[in-house]
Structures are given as structure tokens and as C-alpha cells.
């Protein structure tokens, strides 16, 4: 009786182990695609030379049975190119130096105060898509998309245009995007220094705040390192930082009339 009982229990155990293993094996097998099987171990070898089954342009691929899937040679088509090598390598926690930041800033603006151009192609169909990434500052690995600095204004493409032509839908292959002619405009790029009343006092704001109402856009946790705030937990920036006196004088404020009295005769 006892032996019989034990042997029955062992048999049940064995059957259930076999069942679980085969079931999970089956699902694991389902999960692993042909692509993964082929790619594992040869990632660096892109593009894949898959040979005979590649379809020439126009014709639809022929369906094959499951048993033939592995050898069917599905893979990248003739136009596939790997862009992996052109991706910017990760540089975790880079500290950009001030000159570097300023140079980048200049490259995207005609002058200090001009709306920066967009350094990537944009969707021309729906300009509101800008806010998808720029509504709040976003970081994907080392790429930061700055948050909008003037949230009141939302017709983004009114002022910010792409420096890369007509955009993502456009096949630019056949067209030469040559400059129409050189332009000798030299923008004023000099930045004004901030001021401190005494050591350790909060520095003044060395630029106009018009169009830069959201300080976090540049100075927030995702801002460029030389001008990033040291105290992101404090939210009311202008409690302590006010526009410097030079700023108001040379830019806006209640400007007096006439501007150039010597010209009124």
C-alpha cells in the first residue's frame, strides 16, 4: 500500500514537473523570435547577409510555414542601413564648460535674443507636436529637450523654424539645400555679466525676462551645467534674483521718449 502510495506520488510529481517544464519551454520558445535567434552573437555584423529569400522591390514576400521560418531569411531589406554608429555615445554626467555652452547657443541664434532655430527636422503637419517633448524639459539618455521658456505662447513655429529644410515627411534626396546667397549680418552675441551686491548675495539676472518667464527652461535641473540652479527645490526664482540694472537700461522697461532727441528739429 505504502509503496504503491509512494510510487503514485512520485509519478504525479514527475508528470507535473515534466508538464511545467514543457509548458514554460513552449512559451519561451514562442517568445524568442527568429530575428533574435539570428541576431544574437552577430549584432556587430549588420547589415545581415541573408541571401536567397530577399525580395526585390515591389514583390510581396512569400509566406512560409513555421518549420521553414528559421531558414526563410527574413531580414532587413536592400535599403536598410544601420545608424547605430552615428548615435552620440553616452556621456553620463558631462559637465559642459561655459565656452562650449555659449558656442552652441550662438550657433542656433542670429543674435542674442533671437529665437533659436530648431536643430532637427520638424513635423510640418502639426506644429503643436513640438510640445510633446518641449512642454516640460525631457531627458532621454544624454539628449535634453529644453522645456518651453514662455508657456503663454504656443504657436511654436511662428518663431522657431527648423534649420533642416521642410521636415520629416520630405524626401530631400534629390534636392540641393544650398544657401540662396551669403549674408553678412553679424549678430550681437555678447552676454552681460550678472552682478552681486556682496559676496554670496544672489546674483542679478543679466538678461531680459521677457520670453524667459520659465526660469527652469534653462536654469532647471535639466539646464546646461554652467547655469543650472544649485537649489532646484526653491521655486520662486524672482524672490531673490532680479534683473540687473544694466539690463533694464539697455533693453526695455518704461523707455523714455523720444529715443533720440537730437533728431527732432
Amino acid at each position: 500500500m505504502i509503496d504503491f502510495y509512494h510510487s503514485k506520488k512520485a509519478a504525479t510529481l514527475t508528470v507535473s514537473v515534466v508538464f511545467v517544464v514543457s509548458l514554460s519551454g513552449f512559451f519561451m520558445g514562442l517568445r524568442q523570435t527568429v530575428r533574435e535567434t539570428r541576431l544574437s552573437g552577430e549584432l556587430s555584423g549588420l547589415p545581415l547577409e541573408t541571401g536567397e529569400a530577399r525580395q526585390e522591390s515591389g514583390a510581396a514576400p512569400v509566406a512560409v510555414s513555421y518549420s521553414q521560418l528559421a531558414s526563410a531569411g527574413f531580414g532587413p531589406n536592400a535599403s536598410f542601413r544601420s545608424e547605430m554608429s552615428s548615435l552620440i555615445p553616452p556621456q553620463s554626467e558631462t559637465v559642459q564648460e561655459r565656452p562650449e555652452v555659449i558656442a552652441e547657443r550662438r550657433a542656433r541664434r542670429a543674435f542674442n535674443g533671437a529665437p533659436p532655430v530648431v536643430p532637427h527636422p520638424i513635423s510640418q503637419s502639426y506644429s503643436v507636436t513640438c510640445l510633446g517633448c518641449h512642454e516640460e524639459a525631457t531627458r532621454i539618455d544624454t539628449v535634453v529637450s529644453p522645456g518651453i521658456s514662455h508657456p503663454v505662447y504656443q504657436s511654436c513655429t511662428q518663431c522657431h523654424v527648423s534649420s533642416e529644410g521642410l521636415g520629416t515627411e520630405w524626401n530631400t534626396g534629390t534636392y540641393r539645400l544650398s544657401p540662396f546667397g551669403q549674408n553678412r549680418f553679424t549678430g550681437h552675441h555678447e552676454l552681460m555679466p550678472g552682478e552681486r551686491a556682496y559676496d554670496d548675495s544672489p546674483p542679478t539676472i543679466p538678461h531680459v525676462v521677457h520670453m524667459r518667464q520659465n526660469c527652469n527652461s534653462c536654469h532647471g535641473p535639466l539646464g546646461t551645467s554652467p547655469i543650472r540652479t544649485t537649489h532646484p527645490e526653491r521655486k520662486s526664482c524672482m524672490q531673490c534674483h532680479v534683473p540687473g540694472t544694466g539690463v533694464e537700461k539697455s533693453f526695455f522697461g518704461e523707455s523714455p521718449f523720444p529715443f533720440r532727441p537730437e533728431l527732432i528739429k
Binding site: 542670429a110 543674435f111 535674443g113 533671437a114 532655430v117 510640418q124 503637419s125 502639426y126 503643436v128 512642454e135 508657456p151 503663454v152 505662447y153 504656443q154 504657436s155 513655429t157 511662428q158 518663431c159 522657431h160 523654424v161 534649420s163 521642410l166 521636415g167 515627411e169 520630405w170 524626401n171 534636392y175 539645400l177 544657401p179 540662396f180 546667397g181 549674408n183 553678412r184 549680418f185 553679424t186 549678430g187 550681437h188 552681460m192 552682478e195 551686491a197 542679478t204 531680459v208 525676462v209 521677457h210 518667464q213 520659465n214 534683473p243 540687473g244 540694472t245 544694466g246 533694464e248 537700461k249 539697455s250 526695455f252 523707455s255 521718449f257 523720444p258 529715443f259 533728431l263 527732432i264
Partner: protein
Amino acid sequence: MNVDRRQFLKSTAMAAAVTAAHQRAYGAFDNTELSTAEAADGLTWDKAPCRFCGTGCHVRVGVKDNKVVAIQGEQLAEVNQGLLCVKGYHVGGILYGEDRLKEPMLRKNGKLEKVSWDEALEAIAQRLYDRPEQFAIYGSGQWTIPEGYSAQKLIKGGLSNNHIDPNARLCMASAVTGFLSTQGVDEPAGCYTDLDECDVLIMWGNNPAEMHPVLFSRVIDRRSKGEEITLIDMGTRRTRTTEYCDEYLEFRPQTDLAIANGIAHLLLKNGTYDQRFVERFCNFRKDTDTPSLFGEVSSLEEYTELLAPYTPEYVEQLSGVPAGKIRYLAELFGNRDLRITSLWCMGVNQHTRGTNMNRLIHGIHMLSGHWGKPGDAPTSLTGQPSACGTAREVGTLAHTLPGGRLVAKEAHRNDSERIWNLPDGRINPKPGYHTIKMWEQFCTPTESGGDISTIWVQVTNPGQTLPYLKKYFQNHRGLKDKFLIVSEVYPTATTAMADLVLPAAMWVEKNGIYGNSERRTQQWFKMVDPPGNARDDTWMTIAVARKLFEMGYSGMKDKDGEFLFDVKDDAGNTVPIWEWEHYYDINVDKTLYEEYRAFSFMKHKDLAPYDVLVESRGLRWPVVQDANGTWRETPFRFMEFSDPYVEPGKEIQFYHSVTQDDRGLIWFCPYEPATEEPDDSYPMWLCTGRVLEHWHTGTMTRRIPQLHNAMPHAYVELHPDDARDQGLANGDIAVVETRRGKIELPVWLNGRGHPPRGSIFVPFFDEHLLINELTLGDVDPISKEPDYKKCAAVVYKKPVQKPVLEEQPRS
């Protein structure tokens, strides 16, 4: 998610507003003890209106070492409140394209060769002296007021010839005839404040998100501030404006006439029209068989009867807009609790029934009483910085004299002769040729009756903008006796065919005054020197006049024998302003403007004195001095609460009314088909227009790298299904063909605009891809403005694909 986003935006917008208010309240923060950094950036800042569109944004121009180096939106300007568009921010770059024209050039043996200013002026003066009656001036809404005024005085007061017309004829002539035939006097009654106050904004064939971006932001920014506003886009293709709209009503081209009539029909049928407004302030008119400016007297009864056929179902059948949406529009207009503003620009004006369409929009607003309160306004926009100031107010048109006067009216001629101190009868009573006629005569051989032999083009580019370019521009090539003079800043499609090219100073390289879309006159001073030998347009006009004077041409003398443009200094001595080195010895702009100001009072378009303009960021006329000596502008015209010329108690007074009883006119004008509609051979509608980045022909904006990179070349937009039918994919080269010609253009699908099936769009900024070789030359019978928005075309794939955008050498 969506709610979160809205909340986030609202809260940040609120925070920003608080910051701004804080800054306003505490001004310059002068409570700080910091040392002042005087002119810390080393720039000199001065004010100017933007050089581009009719919005009239004020910019702050930063100058260093005689160069413009920075631009800012003027925060204290009411028009733009600190905001600009991408063109405005980069406007400083227009001065510095490397191919600026710097020397006069005369065509000798087929080639343009450098000549001295003196030789150039002699050449012009001699032609004028020999054949003054065959001379024409083709100017523009980009002329400053003194430029247009001096050209006007030279030709009408000096040469007794009325062949002067501005490119504004191609742009807002139908808006002018629309205002004249409803209000009795030109230009909008309302102003941009209507955009801040309206609950509903209806855009009639209008794309302000790209064409008047700052005004469009002024509306949509209200949403960020928590206000509710309904935006309705009525158009023939989806645009960037459509993205922001609550309703998009797509109509078949030309059927805007039917939609307007459909709304009026329902207002009457449902009794929701404003009976009190109509009884107090309106008369009725109807279009005549032969179209005329003032039509035929009508009545409310006849008006109702004539509108009877325009049921929502009939309108749907014509326009494709569902009957339910026509009812929706009529309900909006029937609701007196809402404030409704209509906006329109080229979609309505560049229309073979443009005058009628303008009348109908005014009519719906008056019929429904959505007129005469802030936010309740039919608001017509202009495309050029001084279309209103120079073309309309100075009256640089073939049939007008300054200040709303007509050459055909003896009293008006006498008035002008008095102000100009001319002998009686100097001004010719026969109107000159309007734009299309002028160029047709220029392109017709003299022996076949082409009685215009010399045209002087100033501040515009007809070689790219005239419709049906072959007929109206290019055909003059090779005709003997014809001579084309072009004052320009860069080489263009027009200078390429010119016989004499004069290099011009532009924008802040000279003094100037512009008048924007809301009757605002804006002044600026010269800030930097023009390059090389480029000189002011006003100077060129005066210098030519002086040459003629010295040659003994009697028309250049006033009735006392003095030079037409004689300017005296404080000591009473003549300043020789015709000599360039003395031109800036005195402010010529101020002298001419003050003389012109005398013309402005007859039609109650009183302009502010020059010195008052200097101290303002533009003032809206009539500008009237009140009892304590302050000059007061008029934001809302004909309305008692704002306009000093409205008699007390009248509430609304059309004081230049056609019927002379202070009432406006509500017009009936029928729907009529377009003059060229698609058929089997040409099955598509072709529409042309502008894009955000480029202004008009791109002469200035295409030389700005930021703008050029964003919009490098023209394209044809079409519906993906139409493209599929033709085997066209994005980037393929298509041939676009009309009865007038064909060009090759790259295809753009699902791009910025989305035309419906059976219709295509091509922008006109690209001088290498001249779409105006294909457009229709047909004009509105009253305003003589051509239709650029509708003609029949066919699109097909170019057999062999080749790049088309290699730059073509200029001749």
C-alpha cells in the same frame, strides 16, 4: 493626461503672468543699490515698424558700428506687445545679403553696366521729357508715405499724367471697394483690440497662423490665459490655422459668396437679424448687371426676396459645406450675446468677385448687429507694411489723389492744385491705367497701341508677382521703344529684365513712415548708412524732377515758378535736397509728410503731426487734438464712444455714407461661378499664396539663412489620393500645367497644408519656380484686382526625374 497638460500649461502661464506683473509693478527695480552698467551691451536702440507685413509690429533695432546687430519685439507697442514672428526677429538680416545692389546699372548692348547716378538720372529725365504721357510709375504698399507721396506729386502734379498704380492693386483693391461701397469711405472701422474682445473669430479663406502670426498669437494666447474663444476656419485647404480651430468648414472655391448669402438668408428667415441696427443704421443696395461701385438702390423686402433661394441645402449643394454648419453659423450671428469678429485677407480680395465678397461679409455683420462694439467687427487685414498708409491714404492709384480724392472730380483736383500751389488745370482729369492695364500696354508694341513706353518700378517685384507673367510682364522683352527702370535692393526677376537698375536704400537705412492695417501711422529714423551708392527712393524721385526742372520742363514748376519739391530751411533758404550730399541736411520726410497731412482732413483721416508720431509707437487716425492740447488717437471709427467725429447721441454714424444719411449699405450680391473652373482637360483647382518664412517674393527673406534653411524652395501640395492616381510620391517632380503655361515642381504630401482632392497649392516666393507664369489674369470688374487663388490646372508626373533646383544663372 490631457487635463494634466492643460493644468500644467495654465499654471506655468499664470506664474509667468505674475512674474510679468511683478516686473511691471516694480518697474526698473531701482530700489537695488547696485552700480549701473550704462549701455552695458554697447548698442544703440531705436524704434521702427517691421519691414514685412501689414500687421505693423514695432521692433527695437539694436545698432553698433553703423550696422544693425539685434532686433527685439517692442514690449510697449500695443500691436505686438513684445512678440514678433520668425521673419520679424530676423529682419535685421535683410540689409546684409552679399548681393545687395550698390551701383546704378544701365543696359548697354544687352548687358547691365555700372553707370554714375548722374548718367542714370539723365537717362530717365530725357525719356520723361520726350514722352511724359507714355510714362508710368509702378509702386507698392512698401513705399514709405513720403516715397509714395513724392511719386504721386511728380506724376500727377508735375507730368499731368495719372499712370501711377501700386502693387496693392494685386492685394487689397477689393477691400478698398468693399469699404467704399458699404461705409462710403475706405479702411476698417475696428482695430486689433477686436481680436482681444471677440468670443468667436471667423477666418474667411485666411491663414493668419502663417501670414499674420503675431495677430494670430494675440488670439490663441488668450486660451493659455484661460479665456474661451471659438475659432472657425472657412477655407479651401487645411492650414496651420486649422490646427487651432474648433470648426473647419471646407468649401468649394468661389462658393464663399453662397455661404455668406446662406447665413444672411437664415438670419432673415429665422428673424434673428438685428432689426434695430438695420432700421437705424442701414440702407440696402444690390449688384447691377454691369458691376458698379455703388450699385442700385434696394430694400429689406427685396433683399429678403433675393436671398430666398440660398437655403442651407442649396448652399450645401454649391459649396460642399453641410447645411447643418450653415445653420450653425447663422445661429452664431443670430446670437447678440456673442462678440463676433471676421478676419480676411487675400482669400477674399484676390477673387474675381472680391468686391462682392467684401460687401457680403460687411453685410452679415451689419445685418446681425455684430458691428460697432469692440470684438464685433469685420476686420480686413493687409499684406504690406504700408498698403493702407501709402497706397490707400496717399492714394497712389491711377484714379485717386491724396486723402480719398478722385482725379475725375473737379473739386478734388482743385483742392490738390491748391495744396500743391499749382496752376489751375494742371491735374489731368482722366484716370490713368490700373496695374494690369498698365503692364498690358507696356507689353504691347507701340505701333499696336501700347501707349506706355517707360515704367519706373519702385519697391516691388512685378516680374514675379504679376499674374500670367508671360502676357503681362515678359512679353515686353524685345519690343523697341520700351524702357524698364527698376529701383531695387537685390537682383530679382524684375531687375533681370530691366534697362536701368537703381540701387535703393531700405528700411532703417533711411527715414520712413508706414501705415498698418488698423489705421496706425508709424514713423522711424534712419539708423545706418546704405551700402555703396544705394540711395533713398524719395531722393531718386526728387532728383529726376530736378533734372526735368533744369531742362526747362514747365510741369516741374509750381504756379510761382518754384521747383515742385522746393524745401526751405528755417532761415528761408532753399536746401538743395536733389544733391545727395545735402539730402539729409533737413528732414525731407518731415517736410513732405507735413505737406501731405493737409490732404488728410477732408475724409476725417486726420494724421498726427510728425513730431507727435516721433514720440509714439504709432497712432491710429483720426488723431485729434483735444481741449488740453493732447493728441488723441481713434481705435474705433464711426462709434460714438471712441470717434470724436461722431455727433453726440448718434451711437454709430457713417459720416461719409454713400447715401449721405449716416447709414451703411447692406448689399445683395449673387453667387457666380469662377471665370475659370476645372474641366476634363484641367481638372484641378490651383491656389497660390505665401508661407510663414518668406515674405512675398522672398527678395529679402530668402537671403536670411535661418529662413532660407527652413523653407528652401517652392513645392506643389496635393492630396495623397490625387498623388497616388498620378503615381506621384513625396519629393517626385510633378508638372503643373494651366492654359497659360507649365512648370515643374517637387511634390509635397502631408506637408504643411492639406488640400482636398481635386485641388493643389503652390507658394509664389520662389523666383526659380515662377508659379505666376500659370496664374489667371482675370480681374474683379470693380476693383481690377486679379484672382490668384483659383484657376484650372492639371498635374502629372514628370517622365524623367531630374533635380530642378539647380540655381539658374540670371541674365
